[in-house]
Symmetry: C2
């Protein structure tokens, strides 16, 4: 993933409404949600929503699928993964200390909490 794409994806994500939008779509998988539903969830007018959806789709962070009248939007897992992966690799050079903050919750552990100086979340 080249730098301009990463920057575009970061720009797209660095917005309140769009970040919320991705978070909303994330757990819905391939089913996604129609534009109208998204607008109702996030309290956006259709034109404003359309603008944000276009920005996210352009950046490769969401995809869309038309079903009769409705357009369903869903998170683009690959785009999101590649963006985050580029940050880790190309920008942070896979530094162990950066990676340490990104580990999944330890399986079996009760609370994946604070080693000594405790990374807040």
């Amino acid at each position: 993933m080249d730098r301009s794409k990463v920057l575009a994806a970061l720009s797209a994500l660095a917005n309140d409404k769009r970040f919320e939008l991705v978070c909303l779509l994330m757990p819905l998988g391939e089913t996604g949600l129609s534009a109208g539903e998204i607008g109702r969830h996030l309290g956006m007018t259709s034109s404003r929503l359309s603008f944000h959806l276009a920005a996210l789709e352009q950046a490769g962070l969401i995809r869309s699928r038309r079903v009769s009248r409705k357009v369903f939007y869903m998170a683009d897992l690959r785009g999101l993964g590649q963006t985050i992966g580029s940050l880790l690799r190309d920008c942070c050079m896979d530094h162990p200390e950066v990676r340490a903050c990104c580990q999944p919750p330890a399986p079996g552990a009760i609370a994946p909490k604070a080693p000594a100086r405790g990374p807040e979340r």
Copy 2:
């Protein structure tokens, strides 16, 4: 790490010059680089650079240390890690397919190699 901090960090990173700046500082560790040197590397006037440095420091992505006349800047590994970690966890909900794109290059032990390659471009 709360959402507004993540958004601030993403905004700060979503800029050509600032992204490049973090990439430049990353391999230099705690030593960092003085503002003047950074300006020379990236071809920025001092006031422009100062503006960008302040934005990154404010966002918690770099830190600074004054040594007599000079101010040295270094990457804030924890801030970077927390930002990326928040993206993975809070936004992408630790989805396996997203994580799969972020795996370190070499399977097995993570070699803490210090990539001493110069700044690109």
